[in-house]
Structure formats: C-alpha cells, structure tokens
C-alpha cells in the first residue's frame, strides 16, 4: 500500500512539474524584462523556485502526515 501511495505521489509530482514547465512560457515571459533576480532571469527563477518550493512543501506534508498518523 505504501508503494502504491509513493508511486501515485511521484506520478502526480511529475505531472505537475510537466504542466508547470509547459505553461511557464505563457505566464512568465511577459514579466521577463520587468524582474531581474540576481544571476538568473525571472523565468528561470520561476521554474527553479516552483520546483524547490514544491519539493519542500511536499516533504513537509509527508512528515506532517506521518506524525499525524502516528498520533492517531
């Protein structure tokens, strides 16, 4: 059962990442010239930031979920 959940989890993460990557052309290009964030531009920051935030958020959720179940 754990394997199924884990597989579903990563499948969804892949799907979300693909969708995020697919539409970043549409939503970020307009702001490309308006923001300059350090060494990379807004588009790269957006994709990298979303990926990092997703992993961090997902990890936090898994930890919280495990603790919540342990407590019953």
């Amino acid at each position: 059962m754990k394997k199924v959940r884990l597989a579903a989890f990563f499948l969804t993460l892949c799907l979300s990442s693909l969708c995020a990557y697919a539409d970043h052309d549409h939503d970020d290009d307009r702001d490309k010239d308006k923001h300059k964030g350090g060494k990379t531009d807004a588009t790269e920051m957006s994709v990298l930031g979303l990926a990092a935030a997703s992993v961090l958020g997902a990890g936090s959720y898994l930890v919280y979920r495990r603790r919540a179940r342990a407590r019953g």
């Binding site: 579903a8 989890f9 964030g37």
Partner: protein, 317 residues
Amino acid sequence: MAGSSALEQNEKALHRLFPAGLRQAIVKVNQTPYLPVLALTLGAVCLDSWLLPDLNTVAPAFSCGLLLILALRSSFNKSLSTLITTPPIAPWRLCCFLGLHLALMSAAFAGLWKGTHSTGVAMALAASKYLILLPTAVLLSRDAWRHFDGIYRAHWIAAAIALVSFFPLRIFSMAWPWYGQLLGRSVFALAHLFVPATQYVATLTPTLVGPNLEVTIVFGCGGLQGIKLFQILFTLMLVMDWDELNRRRAMAAYFGGLGAMLIANVIRITLLFLVGNTSLQNSVLEYHLTGGWILFTLAFIAYLPATYRWMLKKAKA
C-alpha cells in the same frame, strides 16, 4: 466466466515475465475501469498541446492526468473480484474520436485561436479551448457514461474543479484592474502601520512610495505563482489521502487555501516593502523572487496543520 479465464491466462503469462509485485500492479492497472478511455483522452490532450501551443491546454491535461491517477489509485485499493473490466471501445467510436481531434487541430492550424479580438470574443475563444475534451464523449455510450459516473463521480468532480481552477491566468488577467487596486490598498494599509510616510499611487500597476524604496506591484506580483504552488501541493495531498478524505471538507479547504495564498501574497509584498525601506534594500531587490517562494512554502506549511485533520473522514464524527 470467459472474462475470468482470460484474466487467469493473462496472470499466468505475466507470472513468467515479471516479479510478483510488478505482476500484481500490471493486473490492477489493466483492470482499472475505463482506463483506455482515460488514457486515450490524456494522450490526445497532451499531443494536441504539444503540437499546438496556441491551445495552451495545460489545465485540461492536468485535469485528465488527475482523473487517471485517482482512478488508478482507487483500483489499487479494491480487491480484484470487485473490479469491473471495461468493454473494448468500438472502432467507429475511436475513428470519431480521432476525427474530432483532427478537426480541432485543423481549426487551430487555421488560426482560430490566434490574433487579437474584442473582450467578448477573446473570452469565448478562451472558453472554447475546453472543446479539446469533447471528443472523449464519443468513446462511450450514454449508458456507459452513466456507469462511469457511478464509479468515478467524486473523481471527475475533483478533475472538473482542477480543470476550471488550475493556474487561473485568464481570471487574474480579467480581474487585474480591480484586484490590483485591492492588493495595492491592502499592502498600503499594512505597510502604513510600520512606515507612516508611505504613499500610494493608484495606477493600473499600483505603486507604494517609501522613504528609501518604491515598490510597483506588476501583474506578476499578483500571487498567481503562490496559487500554482498550492494547487500542486494540494493535488499531491488529494492523491495521497483520497480514500480518507471528507470530500466536501477537502473542497472547502482547497478554496480556503487559495484565499490563504492571496493573503500570504499581501504579507509577502508588505514584508518586501518594509525590509526594502531599511538598509537591506539591495538584498530585497536581488532576492525578492526567491524570498517569495520561501514565503509561499511557509504559508502552505502553516495552512496544513490548520486543515489536515479536519479534512479526514474520522474528524466528521
């Protein structure tokens, strides 16, 4: 009985080829009701999206993918005996499905979704992009769709909500003239408490003028990225805990979370403005995008304990 013996033969064939876990997984995947319909739809939508970027079919692809994953997940939770095998799709239905997709692709190649139009026409054309899901209707008969609805009602409602609300760029674009002002005034009201000299300039992109830093709130600062992050993380939560969730509460928590992300965005811009009006002005200019992601992640982490237990079925009693 013929169906069950065919199933046994399949299992025996798989037994020779794959280890036990993978074998069981393949059998379960094959026995997911309406799997070919869901997989065909997802494949066709992804192919259309790849070939025709004008369609910008991210939300339909995401929605179909979610429905497929939830359906697969439900199949894995049921014993083999309770599963129903799907009747094969009639060739003429498959031909109609492909024909309709080709017609849609031809319309896109002909430039139906290109060019600038008046607001009403642009809205109608944007809405018409959901037609990409219409060919799926011909894949099954009316009775089969009723049966599908009986098995997957909660699943397709979740997918439909994802379809209309995933990454709401157009809604934000339409709402920006008044939403931008609401955002600007909210930030101003908060920032004014800490920096009394703050001034507010009400333009289409509202500007807050502080002693050391001027902050212009452009469309990209509207909180759409925070909403996208929340939607991705909530989808993961939905997939992981689908069977234990109280569906109505989950829906309320979803829309509540979208609101929470918009509030987090107000706090984000206020913090940037406040910190930017100290000696850390250069750091704010350089790291404000990264800081935004960190704050949105923290907002999700704060929202999770507030709603998670409430969403679970056990909390219903």
